[in-house]
Amino acid sequence: MASITRRKFLAATGGTAGAIATQGFFPAVLRAQAEPLRIGCPLPLTGPFAALAADMQRGAQLAQDELNAKGGVMGRKVEVLFRDDELKPAVGAQRTKELIENQKCQFIVGGLAAHVQMAINEQTKKAKVLFISTSQSDEISAKPDTSPITFHEALNPTITSRVMGTWVAQNLGKKWWIIYADYAWGKQNNAVLQDTLQKNGGTLLGATPYPLGSAEFSAHLPKIQAAKPDVLMSMTPGADNIAFLKQVRSFGMDKTMKIAQPLLWISYLKEGGPELYSDIYGSINWYWELQDTIPSAKKFVEASMKKFNIPPGDYGAYSYSGVLEVARGVELAKSTDSEAVANALRKSPVYDHFKGKQWWRACDNKSMQDMWIVKGRGPGKTKGDWGLMDMVAKVTADEKYDRTCAEKGFV
């Protein structure tokens, strides 16, 4: 214990001495110019979500470069610092704390897995630092977990599963089996899907939880196969998705039922290949072929192609937008104070960084946005390396798809 206290003491005295030295020797303006605006970005850079996290890292980097090319934010350079949260809530919390306390990050943008993002949020709330979450979660924008400085850029299980569930029930069939990763995001989707199915007069034949990050689904499949559902709804995120679809196809189940999932991710479509994803349905917040119709999407795709030679994915778009929103908020507020930035964003909530008009709903800081129903293009139908999905339908942003402010605990 003694050594920790000594270390803390040294760090504290050293920090204070440093602060006095800088304040004493440099005028305030110079100091402000020298110090970049730091945004912390915790992501699961290793583990089953690594491909998505890499996409998000690229998105945030693009936003940083774009801002710096314009001369930064309020004359300060923007610096995004990435940390690996290892897909573990405790690590996510620790890295966030480190970003805020040691690296002096004034804002946090990121998070990918719902349960880790909740842990990040606990830290940002405690440190009074604005957090723009880029993970799908219902609780993050609902009481008691949310806060006035917590913003939620991503879609959430309620919206995706209501929209996707309704579309699937009306277009693909009403007898479902649901399989879901047994953690916050999967459970929330499962609950909303079951509710949506019931409202559409469908029948639930069964719902199976499985441990996230598991590559073995075969023990679940015979039972599902025997139940003969019209639709197999799957929430098997990240690398699990490829293993899952492979096994489903090897059991021949793709021939007897439709497969739909509230999320499809282009990184895994690319890795798994068109044959694996052929005719798999999903809903998505963004897809790079939107560049044909949406100017901000085109700008974003071009920047990504130039820097990384691959188009951004849907989650890269979230983090890109999140970083740009922090910058917009700072410029609107003319301050880096988290509360002031949050107020500024609520006061002028409409923005468009990559997909057309989005807005922050005033009560819960939830981003309202368009989404699309997509389907994997089979082999021979793909366009180039990355043209892997057909857009089946567009769903225009509407607050009615999310829970109401009252349902989320705001009165």
């Binding site: 850079l45 290793t46 583990g47 089953p48 690594a50 491909a51 890499a54 047994d182 199976t208 939880p209 499985y210 441990p211 990050g213 598991s214 590559a215 073995e216 075969s218 023990a219 679940h220 499949l221 015979p222 039972k223 196969q225 025997a226 690398a239 490829i242 293993a243 492979k246 096994q247 090897s250 059991f251 021949g252 990184s267 890795e271 798994g272 290949g273 694996l276």
Partner: protein, 293 residues
């Protein structure tokens, strides 16, 4: 819920395939432990290497069968080097030392795999001729999984023949009973240990190579498998090959059947069964008392 034979039979069959991977991993662990008293914690990482090497050789040769042969050989060769240059230095010391060494080695291998093959993981398809499903009458079962069962049974028979019918096998069995006496007969046990470690590693590589087309290849794929395989070894009895086979198949069934009734409990049940077995037989089903002392 439907509890008829027609519903449970497919479950038993999928559990069997899962069991085959456990058996291959556990046999290797048990062989190495039984003869050398080395708890090889890098076994999961070697399983992962097996999967990655298969992808690698498949890319080069465009021939799945050749890749399936080469990958375990490469992992086995790697095992020989590990024994010769790392583990051999630790003989005669406490069993904790090789355990720590192999644990560290597995971390190094996982990180190296990430550097070499990326963090995302790679996918790998079964060969065309095993791509489809076979109608077994009660269900359509993936042809590739039937192949996995066949290969495992074949390897087990070959291993059994090797251990019971050859001179080297005789020495291995004798060495596991009484190393001092074997040495006294003028046999160089170092070479036997080298061989056994290599075979054990090659079996882990084979398990990974077989798992690849079902599960893909990714750096962390061995992390949970090695724990489950150790459970299998403990349940079967440390060092008992028959125990590894029986417990491996049993654990496959435990996972398969639990998944049928209560999917959320499938992972836990493996440990529950281990606890129950150890309560009744503290040294495992086929274990001899005092092996770890």
């Amino acid at each position: 819920m439907d509890f008829s034979l027609a519903a449970v039979l497919p479950q038993i069959f999928t559990g069997l395939v899962l069991g085959m991977l456990f058996v291959l991993l556990a046999i290797g662990l048990s062989l190495i432990f039984g003869l050398m008293t080395v708890v090889n914690f890098s076994h999961g990482a070697l399983y992962m290497l097996g999967a990655y090497f298969t992808v690698f050789f498949l890319g080069y040769t465009r021939n799945f069968w050749l890749a399936l042969l080469l990958a375990p050989l490469m992992v086995g060769t790697f095992g020989l080097l590990v024994e010769r240059f790392l583990i051999r230095r630790l003989y005669g010391r406490s069993p904790d030392d090789p355990l720590l060494l192999t644990f560290g080695l597995s971390l190094v291998l996982i990180e190296t795999a990430k550097l070499v093959w990326g963090k995302i993981g790679l996918t790998l398809d079964p060969p065309r001729e095993l791509g489809g499903a076979v109608n077994l009458g009660f269900m359509a079962f993936p042809a590739y999984r039937l192949f996995v069962i066949a290969v495992t049974v074949g390897v087990l028979l070959a291993l059994w023949a090797f251990l019971t019918r050859t001179n080297v096998g005789l020495i291995i069995r004798a060495g596991s009973r009484d190393p001092l006496m074997v040495r006294a007969l003028g046999i160089d046990l170092n070479r036997i240990w080298l061989l056994v470690f290599g075979i054990g590693c090659a079996l882990a590589g084979l398990a990974g190579a077989l798992a690849g087309p079902m599960r893909g290849a990714y750096a962390e794929m061995g992390v949970t498998m090695v724990i489950e395989s150790f459970v299998v070894v403990v349940v079967g009895g440390m060092g008992s090959l028959l125990g590894a086979v029986v417990a491996g198949i049993m654990m496959g069934q435990v996972v398969g059947i639990t998944t049928f009734f209560a999917p959320a409990l499938a992972e836990i049940m493996v440990f529950v069964v281990m606890a129950l077995v150890l309560l009744v037989r503290p040294s495992g089903i086929f274990g001899e008392a005092g092996l770890m002392e």
